[in-house]
């Protein structure tokens, strides 16, 4: 089975977040990127499927040269190939357009990604990609079972303690839920070896896309701000004992 995993590089820490010129996106600079955790679960599931059924895993990301680090991590975890699309896109629907264009250049039976990225928290890019490729999809997938040559059976979460079992024809795109597989630790030696491997890259023009085709449309950012504290938290300070005694006093008031 040929699996492509779409992984996003996200800032490890929140700092220097600004509205980009033009007011249509957010921007951050000079930070190390880590693999978006939801996507890391998708990668682990892809590697588990490869171990069970054979095939190959290609990891696909989008971003500047700094996103290469997450590709090396994916290779160290067991991915076979890694591709970076040289484009910086924050809009999730535009990301879907670009990812779909890259997937058209690749061979695959299954596309896996996470449910959302920790920076935009949109949860849109996966299904937006599937829609552009007219591919069946499922969201919040907790189990994947290969049940035929051309089909898979998955379980997905519906919320409220309900799950649905769904059979999908291949190729299909799955947004996997966190926790689908344990996250594996990568020893530094394996990471060093992975850094020797070659990475492929696509430019937008390689994908037959022009910048103006992938501009977010229909909205603009007004401002970005720390959220208001609706609970008006009262902060307690002092030694552990003092804080505990004060807290218990407050707690007794509601019980």
């Amino acid at each position: 089975m040929k699996i492509v995993v779409c992984c996003k590089g996200v800032p490890g820490t929140v700092a220097d977040v600004k509205i980009a010129p033009g007011g249509k996106a957010v921007q951050y600079q000079g930070q190390f990127l880590t693999m978006n955790e939801c996507d890391e679960y998708a990668l682990e599931e892809a590697i588990a499927l490869k171990r069970a059924h054979g095939g190959e895993v290609t990891v696909l990301t989008m971003g500047s040269i700094t996103t290469q680090d997450i590709l090396y991590l994916a290779l160290a975890k067991g991915a076979d190939k890694a591709i970076r699309i040289d484009a910086q896109i924050q809009d999730s629907q535009a990301a879907g357009t670009v990812l779909a264009a890259a997937l058209r250049k690749l061979e695959y039976d299954l596309v896996l990604t996470g449910t959302q990225s920790r920076d935009t928290l949109s949860g849109l890019a996966g299904i937006a990609t599937a829609e552009r490729l007219e591919m069946p999809f499922a969201f919040a997938v907790t189990q994947v079972e290969v049940d035929g040559d051309k089909t898979i059976k998955i379980r997905k979460e519906l919320g409220g303690g309900r799950f649905a079992d769904v059979r999908l024809p291949l190729p299909a795109l799955l947004c996997v839920q966190t926790g689908i597989q344990p996250l594996t630790y990568v020893p530094p030696a394996r990471m060093l070896r992975a850094r020797q491997q070659a990475l492929r890259s696509f430019s937008l023009s390689d994908l037959g896309l022009a910048e103006q085709q992938i501009v977010p449309q229909g909205y603009h950012f007004l401002n970005i701000f720390p959220p208001e504290r609706t609970g008006q938290a009262q902060f307690l300070e002092g030694s552990a004992g003092e804080v505990a005694a004060a807290l218990l006093g407050k707690i007794k008031e509601v019980l």
Binding site: G96, L121, A130, F139, D165, Y219, L222, F225, F235, K252
Partner: protein
Amino acid sequence: MQSSILVITEHWNGQVDGITYQMLAKGRQLADSLGIGLAALVLGYRLDGVIAALQEKGMDVLLVVDHAQLAQAGAEVQASVIAEAVRQMQPRLVLIGYSLVGMELAPAIAAKLGAPVMTNCVNAEIIDGAAVVTRPLFDGTLHAKIALEDKGPPLVAVQRGATPSVQLPPRTASVQPVSVDMGSIPVRSEVLEVIEEPVSDVDIAKADIIVSVGRGIGDKEKIPMIEELAQALGGLMACSRPLVDLGWLPRERQVGASGKSVSPKLYVACGISGASQHLSGMSDSRMIVAINKDPNAPIFQVAHYGVVADLFEIVPALTEEAKKAKGEVAS
């Protein structure tokens, strides 16, 4: 019904999901500030009960797509039907609950319509005639206000619990069937079965006191410390999603959008940063105490009392105080 706010309803087994009433309340507020009507769309099969439940709930028009093929339809079929209804109706804005069901539908509906979409919103309002949403970024440590341009109709998915489900003044909606050519909609995936998780002995949703633990605990071996505090306070231990993902605690203990919604008298959050999916499951608690090392953790946005400190110092001290109060430890 041209130029109205359209709410996409969610129901299961004849029961309307609570998030739908929240969207109706928000929809009425938006419709009133624009001076337009409020409509809702319900789709499924044999919907008489759902229609009866919804009809008096404050919308002007209830649009219905009732078809055998929608009895157990997959998300792509539902999204196609909703997109077709939106095309026919041309509402000013579409509201959908950001439940797991809405999370799957919203991007597909938007793609089919080529419409702008904003998910995970904590608010939607009308400012100078334009729809403006507020939504979190970066794990909820920042919020953004985003104006939606009138290209669309724009789709807005609002978090559970972000808007109170106030009872709207009753009125009897006119029920209107929407005609959708089901034969033209591709059916690729097949829903085999819907499974309900068995009810467990531990029901955190019924607890008056919850001590909840998050990733800040760092080590599975430290969890008994939290259990001990829960017992000393006479409550139950719960957790946030990452601990279930790690396999440290069972799913029945999970609070949040994908776990259980709780509203106890007391909720003590230990080492929980407060991702929006967690907050939506507990922010209605009467008293929220948050213990976290990070003063910027979003959990402090909803907490009534905050302690910026190491939970390994505060939790044992609080356990001891609670035991003292019960007379289990000589003071």
